[in-house]
Point group: C2
Chain length 434, copies 2
C-alpha cells in the first residue's frame, strides 16, 4: 500500500470572543484538515493547527510522503521528532501553541502520523487506539473548559454565530456558563481559563463554583502565566481546598524556576495542590530540568505538538516513571482532532485526568466530520466501533470551511492583535500582569 | 479477528559451558516458544525465557488471551506493565534475567505482545517493525559476545555438541575466540563477558584485543558486578583508551550507589568511559534514582523483560530525554528472539549501540525457525520483507526441542549449581569477588 495523494485543506471555523492572558480569540479559528489517499483508495484524515505556516510545512514534505507506505512513513520521517535531546527550551510562554517555530517539525510529523494511523486503521478495519497498543478504556473523559468572554458566538459579517453563553466577565456569569456546559455535556471536571480578571475575582469564581457544584467535581484554573510568584502562592493558598480532590493549578506563573518557587512555597505552607503546565514544559527537552526542580507535578500532553500519538505515549511512560501526572491540552478544534485526542487517551494508561477540549466552543455549522458533531455524553467521548479514527469527512462542509478561510484575512492566530482591535487599542500582553 | 488457541512449548537447547560471574551455563539453555492462533488460522509466534516458571505464568493468563483480538489484547493486559511506578528495586544483582519474580508480569506481557504483533503483521502483510512506528533502519547491528569458557559445545549424553571454540580461559584464547566470531559473522563491535578471570588478566585480554583489532572496533567489558568500586575504578583507568570510541564499561560493580561512585572517580580522573547496565537498572522504577546519581550513562534494554517492544520504545525515548545511551541485552536464545530484537531495534531510533546477542553460541541443530538459522552478515541482521517477525516455525525442530526439555532435568537456570557440579563443589557467587 502506497500513499498516492496528499490533500491539505486550510479552513476557518467560527470562534467566540474568548479571553485569556494571551488576549482575545479572533472571530475565526484556523485549522488544517489533511487527507492521505492510498493506491487502493483508502483515505486517512487528520486535523492540525491552521493558517499559512502549518499548511506550508505540510506542503514542504509532500515529496517525502507521496509513494511511501503509511506503515513506514512515520519511521522514515522520524528525524522530525528525534532531533531534540535534553536542554532545548521550547516554552510557550510567549507563543501560542501552533505558532512556535521550534515545534513546527513535531506538529507536522504528528499530523502525518495520525493520518497514517487513520489510513491503516481503515485499511485493516481496526480503530486507531488498537493500533498503538490497544485501548485501556472505551470512553475518554473530557473536562468543561469555561472561558471569560465577550458576547457573541464568533464569525463576522453574514457569518455571525449565535451565542448561547452571552457575556461572561464576572464570577457569577462564569458559574452560569459552567452550569450550562455541564447540563449540555455532562462534564464532571472543570478547567477554568483564568488570567483575565483580577486574581481576587478569579478566586471568587472558583470558590463560587465549588459551592455550586459540591465537593466532588475536580476544579482547575489556568491563568496562562499571568501571575507573579507571590500572586500564584496567594491564589494557591486561597484555593487550597477548592483545587484539592483531583484539581490542579495550571501555569500560574511563567518559567520552570518560578513554577518551582511556587511549588516550594505552597508545600512549605502544607498545600499539596499539584502544579500543571502546558507552557513551561512543551517538549521532551524541557523535562529533565522540570523534574530536577520539581517544578511541575502534571504535564499536559497534546499529540498535535508533542509529535503525535506515540510520542504522547512515550511522554506518559516518562511521566509515570518520574511520578508526574498527565493531563491533556487543547486548542480550538473540530471533531477530527477530538476523536484523535480520544483515541490516544484511550490507549494511554497513565492519562488519568479528564482531557481539556475547546470543542463545545465550536458549532455544528463548521463541523467537517460526516454526520455532524462528535457526541460528548456524561463528559465522555466513546471510542466508536468504526475503523481508524471512526470519522469520514463531509466534503461539502470542508468546502465551506475552505471558503471561510479564503474569504477572511486571518492567516495565523494573534490574540494580542485581536485584543487591540476589539477591546483596547493599547492592549499588550504583560507577563506577569498581576 | 480473535485468538482461538495458545500453544506453549517448553524447549531445551544445547548451550556451551560459558562462564560469568553468575557461574557456569548448564548443558542446556531453556526457552519457551509460544504460538497464538487466530480464528482465521494465522499464527503469531514469540520466544521467551524457558523452564517451568515462565510457562506457568503464560498458562495462567490463558483465560484472558483466548477469545481476544490481538489488536486489543495488549491494552487489555496493560496492567501487567503499568503496575510499577518509581522506586521499586528490581535489580538483577543476584538474580539472572528470567528468574526475577518481580518482573514476571512484564516478561509474560512481552511474550504475548510480540506474538500479537507477529500475528497482526502476518494478518495484514506487514513486518512487525512497521507496526510499531516504522523502521528507521533496515539492518540492525549486533556485537560479538565472547565468553570465557570450558571445552565443549553444550548438550549431554548422546546430544553432545561440537565445539568450534574449545577452551577459552586466557587472554590469548579470548582473542582467538573473537577473531573466529568476527570471521564468521562480521561483527564490528565486541562485548566481552568478564568477571571470570583475575581483573588483571581481563585487562590484558582487552588490551590484546585492541592491539589485534585496531582502533576502530568499539570494545565493552561486562563482569556482571564482580568488582569492588576500587577495582572498577582501577580497571576503568587501565582501559581508558581501550574502551573509548563507542565502547563502555558494563556493570563493573553492583548497585546504583557503587556505580555512581565509580563514575564520579573516573570522571575526576578525566576518564569519560560511559558506564552501562542491565543489572542496576532493569525496570522503569530504577531510573529516577539512576538519573539523579548519574550512576549509568547507558541502559541495556531487552524487550523480553522490559515489557515488550513498545516499552522498549518508551525506554528509548526516556533515555534520549535524559541524555542516557541505549544498548540491548541478550540471553541465550534462538532465531525468534533474535528477529524480535532486530525488529524492535529497527523501529527504535535512539538505539545507537550494536545489540548484544548470544545467538552464535547456539547451533543450527536446535533452531526452531523454518529454513534454519537467521543470518548475521557483516555483524547485522537484515529485516526481512516477510510479514510479522519474518519467521515461521519448523514443527519437527520444535518437537525435538520439547523432547530435549522432557528428557533432561533442567527446569530453571542456575549457573551457581552448574558451577558446583562441574567445576568446583565449593563454588559460591561472591559479590564483589575482586
Amino acid at each position: 500500500m502506497k500513499i498516492v495523494d496528499m490533500r491539505i485543506h486550510s479552513i476557518a471555523i467560527a470562534d467566540p470572543p474568548l479571553r485569556s492572558s494571551y488576549g482575545l480569540h479572533a472571530p475565526y479559528a484556523l485549522r488544517t484538515i489533511v487527507e492521505l489517499e492510498s493506491d487502493d483508495s483508502v483515505i486517512g484524515i487528520t486535523e492540525t493547527y491552521g493558517g499559512d505556516a502549518p499548511a506550508r510545512a505540510l506542503e514542504a514534505i509532500r515529496p517525502q510522503v507521496i509513494g511511501r507506505s503509511p506503515y513506514r512513513l512515520t519511521g522514515f520521517l522520524s528525524a522530525m521528532v528525534e532531533g531534540e535531546g535534553s536542554g532545548i527550551d521550547r516554552s510557550q510562554t510567549y507563543l501560542v501553541p501552533g505558532e512556535n517555530p521550534l515545534d513546527q517539525t513535531t506538529r507536522t510529523y504528528a499530523a502525518i502520523e495520525v493520518a497514517c494511523l487513520d489510513l491503516i486503521g481503515k485499511s485493516v478495519g481496526q480503530p486507531v487506539c488498537d493500533l498503538i497498543g490497544g485501548r485501556v478504556r472505551g470512553e475518554v473523559a473530557f473536562s468543561a473548559y469555561p472561558f471569560f468572554k465577550h458576547t457573541g458566538g464568533g464569525g463576522e459579517g453574514g457569518d455571525l454565530r449565535e451565542d448561547e453563553y452571552g457575556e461572561v466577565l464576572s464570577p457569577e456569569a462564569l458559574v452560569r456558563e459552567v452550569k450550562q456546559m455541564v447540563a449540555c455535556y455532562g462534564f464532571s471536571s472543570i478547567k477554568i481559563k483564568g488570567g483575565v480578571l483580577e486574581p481576587d475575582l478569579e478566586i471568587e469564581a472558583v470558590k463560587l463554583l465549588r459551592q455550586e457544584l459540591g465537593p466532588d467535581v475536580p476544579l482547575r484554573i489556568d491563568p496562562n502565566s499571568a501571575w507573579t510568584v507571590d500572586t500564584s502562592v496567594r491564589v494557591g493558598k486561597a484555593l487550597a481546598e477548592e483545587l484539592s480532590g483531583g484539581g490542579y493549578l495550571e501555569d500560574p506563573t511563567s518559567g520552570l524556576e518560578n513554577m518551582a518557587e511556587v511549588r516550594k512555597r505552597l508545600m512549605a505552607a502544607g498545600i499539596t495542590t499539584p502544579l500543571a503546565t502546558n507552557v513551561a514544559v512543551t517538549s521532551f527537552g524541557d523535562i529533565p530540568r522540570a523534574v530536577e526542580l520539581d517544578a511541575v507535578q502534571i504535564i499536559l500532553c497534546d499529540h498535535h505538538y508533542w509529535g503525535g500519538m506515540r510520542q504522547v505515549q512515550h511522554l506518559a511512560n516518562l511521566c509515570k516513571t518520574f511520578g508526574v501526572g498527565l493531563s491533556m491540552h487543547s486548542n480550538s478544534h473540530l471533531g477530527v482532532s477530538l476523536m484523535a485526542m480520544a483515541h490516544v487517551a484511550a490507549a494511554t494508561p497513565h492519562l488519568a485526568y479528564a482531557c481539556d477540549t475547546h470543542y463545545p466552543w465550536q458549532s455544528e455549522e463548521d463541523e467537517v466530520a460526516a454526520g455532524g458533531r462528535v457526541s460528548i455524553v456524561n463528559g465522555c467521548v466513546t471510542i466508536p466501533d468504526e475503523p481508524g479514527l471512526g470519522l469520514e469527512l463531509d466534503y461539502d462542509q470542508l468546502a465551506r470551511g475552505r471558503e471561510r478561510f479564503e474569504k477572511h484575512p486571518y492567516r495565523k492566530r494573534d490574540d494580542e492583535a485581536e485584543m487591540r482591535k476589539h477591546i483596547d487599542p493599547q492592549w499588550k500582553r504583560i507577563l506577569p500582569r498581576w
